[in-house]
């Protein structure tokens, strides 16, 4: 039964054209931005590494991942598909679990594909444009970047379930990730506790206090808090 719910949710996502467009758009963003970063490093003569170029593209890729995370839950409320969904799967916890697993699959695939494509693109562009390469940073950071993007995508999913609207959820996530977080980081060191700042320690060791593991824990705590709120609203309140 559980697998059928998951299969149904994946089927819904497969037949939603905007998911395909977003997936392609996210991967292309990674490819183009990584190449552009390599070209700009070459133009300015800044020595860099392939892994570093890919990691610098992560903030751009995350915009696509946020949309991927918001869509599975958000589109149900864009119209009244949610009513049909709950008629088909009246057990709300199970419906939410299925949807969350489908979102994990889509977001994970999007993150892995875009980081992989960005890596290929950065390697090719660095070779073509003759960027001065220094000793490469640990490749495990790429896995960290994929994990970071997955966390951000799941957070977007939780926000979409909690907010129950597509565009407000998207705007809230984008505003938090690309406006509030950088502005707050410029103002106070306590911005390190924001979910994206904390999770970014998975691929960047820029923080004096949080490490990859503790940063991930902070991000998971955020995810649990918002996810619990969202799950409560989904399971206990009228859709």
């Amino acid at each position: 039964m559980g697998t059928r719910v998951l299969a149904a949710e994946l089927d819904k996502l497969r037949t939603l054209p905007v998911i395909g467009f977003t997936m392609v758009g996210t991967v292309l963003t990674g490819v183009v931005i990584a190449a552009a970063l390599a070209a700009s490093a070459a133009a300015q003569g800044t020595p860099s590494t392939v892994v570093e170029l890919v990691l610098a593209a992560v903030p751009f890729v995350q915009v696509g991942i946020i949309l991927l995370g918001v869509l599975p839950a958000g589109h149900e409320y864009d119209g009244r598909q949610i009513a049909t969904t709950l008629v088909a799967v009246p057990d709300r916890a199970r419906a939410l679990a299925g949807k969350t697993m489908a979102t994990v699959a889509v977001v994970g695939a999007g993150a892995a594909l875009s980081i992989g494509a960005a890596h290929a693109s950065a390697a090719i562009a660095a070779g073509v444009t003759e960027v001065t390469l220094t000793a490469d940073r640990a490749p495990w950071r790429l896995a960290g970047a994929i994990a970071y993007l997955a966390v951000i995508g799941l957070l977007a999913h939780a926000v979409a379930v909690a907010v129950r609207h597509l565009v407000p959820a998207l705007v809230a996530m984008l505003g938090l990730m690309v406006i509030i977080s950088p502005v707050a980081a410029g103002l106070t060191e306590h911005a390190r506790w924001l979910p994206d700042r904390a999770a970014s320690q998975l691929y960047a060791d820029t923080d004096a206090l949080l490490t990859g593991a503790s940063g991930a824990l902070v991000a998971v705590a955020w995810l649990a808090a918002i996810g619990t709120l969202a799950a409560f609203r989904f399971i206990r309140l009228d859709p």
């Binding site: 552009a36 009244r80 998207l170 705007v171 984008l174 690309v178 950088p182 410029g186 103002l187």
Partner: protein, 262 residues
């Protein structure tokens, strides 16, 4: 009546959208929150005798740091004003779209778009007129005479007006893009992400100087002081270029809107 009727109708439709109020709240409350945080940090740095810990101790700069949030609010207003017209109703209620009712009431499509654009301009300027004095007042109250004000009142006024102009033009671009795509997804992604540090336009300037002519970068000197990047257009010509983009996009949207099926 001919002009006032559509304006009042559009204003009323916009102000009864919860999302529009969410956008306004983000600007007003978000800016106040950031200003308080910034001003308190600055004040404590001054009191501790380490003013070099913050970039500067000007009360106006502390308030002005919240300006990027206004862009988000303007984009939200510009988007929901159009996307709410195209959102399909519940199938239990017939699954209709508000745009059909709107066009029945106001068949002149270009006038309708003009009314919507006017309402957006009025709303964004009203939000700016509320937000900027409040945040500047809070920052002045918290920092007081302890800091060194580096911005003269005349400069502060010019930068406030410039920032409000940037918000307005970005909101109008959001309206045009949403009308062209009939979807509320593209405009927020492109405009919000691009107005932040995650800016594709900014990255493009490393590759070609032509990128300085893109609307968001052309207008960024209107903020003078916030994320200044070398090169590019000065405030005056930049504002003209950004306004040119806005007019162009609105004109394209108007032609498309007039010619296609709703």
């Amino acid at each position: 009546m001919r002009v006032a009727g559509p304006l009042v109708a559009e204003l009323r439709k916009t102000l009864t959208l919860p999302a529009a109020w969410a956008g306004i709240a983000v600007v007003v409350l978000g800016s106040i929150a950031i200003t308080v945080l910034n001003a308190v940090t600055t004040r404590s740095a001054i009191d501790a005798g380490t003013p070099e810990r913050v970039a500067n101790t000007s009360a106006f700069e502390a308030a002005f740091a919240a300006m990027p949030l206004g862009t988000v609010g303007a984009v939200v207003l510009g988007v929901v004003m159009i996307s709410s017209e195209y959102a399909a109703n519940s199938t239990d209620a017939g699954g209709g779209r508000q745009i059909t009712a709107t066009l029945t009431a106001m068949p002149r499509r270009v006038s309708l778009l003009a009314a919507k654009a006017t309402v957006l301009v009025v709303l964004v300027i009203a939000v700016a007129a509320i937000t900027l004095p409040i945040t500047a007042g809070i920052a002045t109250a918290v920092i007081g005479g302890a800091g060194t004000e580096t911005v003269t009142p005349a400069q502060a006024l010019m930068r406030g007006l410039g920032g409000a102009l940037y918000w307005t033009l970005t909101g109008l671009i959001a309206t045009a893009v949403t009308l062209l795509t009939r979807s509320g997804l593209i405009a927020p992604i492109v405009l919000i992400a691009n107005s932040s540090v995650v800016s594709v336009s900014l990255l493009l300037t490393n590759l070609t100087p032509l990128a300085h002519w893109l609307p968001d970068l052309a207008g960024r000197r209107l903020f003078t002081g916030v994320d200044t990047v070398d090169g590019g257009l000065a405030a005056g010509p930049g504002a003209l270029v950004m306004a040119g983009w806005t007019v162009l996009l609105l004109a394209v949207a108007a032609v498309v809107f007039r010619r296609r099926d709703a």
